[in-house]
């Protein structure tokens, strides 16, 4: 009778990144593997640090908006909006109703665009080329709308302290209404392609589960927290830019189910958020006010009195905080951002621990990380 031979093996080490197609941006993963199972993972960031917060202190107030725009390339509107709200609070500037509504329209377009970028990343992780093509085709329509109104497809640099840079162009509202109608159909298509797709469910269900307890401890916010059952959304808790006048529901994953907070839930929640944003677009576009688009003269230097403010907006990735301090001078004394991706990065090691290597791209893409905004 032969005795069983036990092969003694050591854990393998694998370093991934900073540039790899499996990663959501420039970061490095130092992993230990037991066969194909990840035993531990360490995240290194900072590869895309641009010194944004220092750059703010070296520019005049008016120029700081274009820097805030670069906070997150996938959702430039949110950095701009947070900064403008904070400065408007310090300088006690009013924003005309029309400008508030355009800000909401651009925010929701930005949210849908960012979520579509997310769908593409997840589709790439599970190997669905069809989905990538469908989503990118539709996202172009949003970028067209940005271009129509702001002149730029990315880095729109369109908000100003006290309003927006220019009034909306002719045909913008009509195209928003067309887009919201189109997206109602498209969300159904995406559902057919993914939500009820057996192969997709197998690749994402039970993968990268983030419990509600850990969500709270790690400070995870936004769609990732709502996929774990939390309903917190700044647009509802502390409404800004007139969100309190809009009738919408915040989608939350159903905690009564057997599972919650996995990659599948995070994906489905974003699909539901696209549908909600579409509805917000329709409501705002149908009720757009007439009147001024900015309370200040364009191009005029702003004098921000000494003071400080901390505002929060609901970006596509979660809670985006902006702390602004002014000393009465021509440049900001300090602008600091609290970005949602900070917390999402902190969740990676425990999400990867115990995960099979083949699921790594699914886990990472399902978090919707913005490495640029975390590194700043």
């Amino acid at each position: 009778m032969s005795s069983r031979e036990i092969l003694k093996t050591e854990l393998a080490k694998l370093a991934l990144g900073p540039f790899d197609s499996a990663l959501p941006g420039p970061l490095r993963l130092q992993m230990e593997l037991d066969g194909e199972v990840i035993v531990s993972a360490k995240v290194e960031t900072g590869f895309i640090h641009r010194g944004l917060e220092k750059a703010f202190e070296r520019q005049r107030w008016i120029a700081s908006i274009s820097y805030a725009d670069r906070l997150d390339p996938d959702g430039p509107i949110f950095g701009e909006l947070a900064l403008c709200l904070a400065v408007e609070e310090i300088a006690q500037l009013t924003v005309p109703p029309r400008a508030e509504q355009v800000r909401v329209l651009l925010s929701e377009l930005g949210r849908i665009s960012c979520h579509m970028e997310y769908l593409v990343r997840v589709a790439r992780a599970v190997g669905s080329d069809t989905m990538i093509h469908y989503v990118l085709r539709d996202r172009e329509k949003i970028l067209d709308l940005f271009e129509l109104t702001t002149g730029a497809r990315y880095s729109i640099n369109f908000l100003r302290f006290g309003g927006i840079q220019a009034d909306i162009t002719e045909g913008f509202i009509e195209r928003i209404l067309e887009l919201s109608e189109l997206f109602r159909i498209r969300v159904k298509e995406y559902n057919d392609l993914f939500t009820y797709n057996h192969a997709f469910i197998q690749r994402t269900q039970g993968v990268g589960t983030l419990s509600s307890k850990r969500v709270r401890e790690l400070g995870v916010t936004g769609p990732n927290a709502r996929a774990a059952g939390f309903s917190a959304d700044i647009r509802k808790i502390h409404p800004y830019s007139g969100y309190d006048k809009i009738d919408f529901e915040v989608p939350v994953a159903d905690l009564r189910g057997l599972r919650s907070g996995d990659a599948n839930d995070r994906f489905l929640l974003r699909l539901r958020e696209i549908a909600v944003s579409t509805e917000i677009l329709r409501q705002v576009a149908e009720n757009i006010s007439d009147g001024a688009f900015c309370s200040r003269k364009q191009g005029q230097e702003i004098k921000v009195p000494a003071g400080e403010a901390y505002v929060r907006v609901e970006s596509a990735r979660g809670l985006l905080g902006c702390h602004v301090a002014a000393d009465g001078g021509p440049m900001p004394a300090r602008i600091q951002f609290r970005t949602p991706s900070h917390a999402h990065l902190a969740a990676i090691p425990e999400l990867l621990s115990g995960t099979r290597l083949e699921d790594l791209p699914v886990v990472l893409s399902s978090l919707g990380l913005g490495v640029a905004e975390a590194d700043r």
Partner: protein, 180 residues
């Protein structure tokens, strides 16, 4: 809880720790200036006795020759995650020498979310956060390239003429009215 009750309870619980109470900016949010050395005991009390279970943000800025650390705290509903009360706690640490690092007690044991903020502030502002037991966390290479000298977010920071053989051209900034 009523804010004035909270403050009187804190003052009673930690005599001398609360140096000043003021409004934050133009909001009604209370901002407590506390003694820097007692941040850990105040943090423990705020979390365990007053239910501030969320550290939402930690922002650092330099005012004259002191670094001011601002902790944005919140209560939160454990079921829905909805935010409740907000409290801002502040401390200032005097910079004895402009280019030297200073030490501040870490609060990571109470709020795990503090870690990335402390790491970043540690490197960019030159703060060595002291953990329980006295170990100092000295961060390098997180945001800045290895070998970079100085703390860029301090007001007196002067950019190097070159780094790693690459010359920095900054004439356009001065032309635009920016500070060197």
């Amino acid at each position: 809880m009523d804010k004035s009750k909270l403050i009187s309870k804190l003052e009673a619980g930690f005599p001398g720790a609360v140096l000043q109470v003021q409004r934050f900016g133009k909001t009604e949010t209370q901002c407590l200036w506390i003694e820097g050395k007692r941040i850990r005991e105040v943090a423990r009390g705020l979390k365990e006795d007053f239910g501030f279970n969320i550290l939402e943000n930690l922002s650092v800025m330099q005012i004259d020759d002191a670094l001011v650390l601002t902790y944005f705290l919140r209560t939160s509903d454990p079921e829905t995650g909805n935010y409740g009360e907000c409290l801002i706690v502040r401390l200032s640490a005097h910079l004895k020498k402009p280019n030297h690092a200073l030490e501040v007690a870490s609060i990571v044991d109470f709020w795990a979310t503090a870690l990335p903020f402390e790491m970043e502030a540690g490197e960019l502002f030159g703060i060595h956060f002291v953990l329980e037991g006295g170990t100092k966390r000295i961060v390098t290479g997180l945001r800045l390239p290895v070998g970079w000298r100085g703390y860029p977010l301090r007001k007196n920071y002067v950019f190097p003429e070159s780094f790693s053989g690459v010359r920095h051209e900054r004439a356009w900034i001065e032309k635009a009215g920016g500070k060197k």
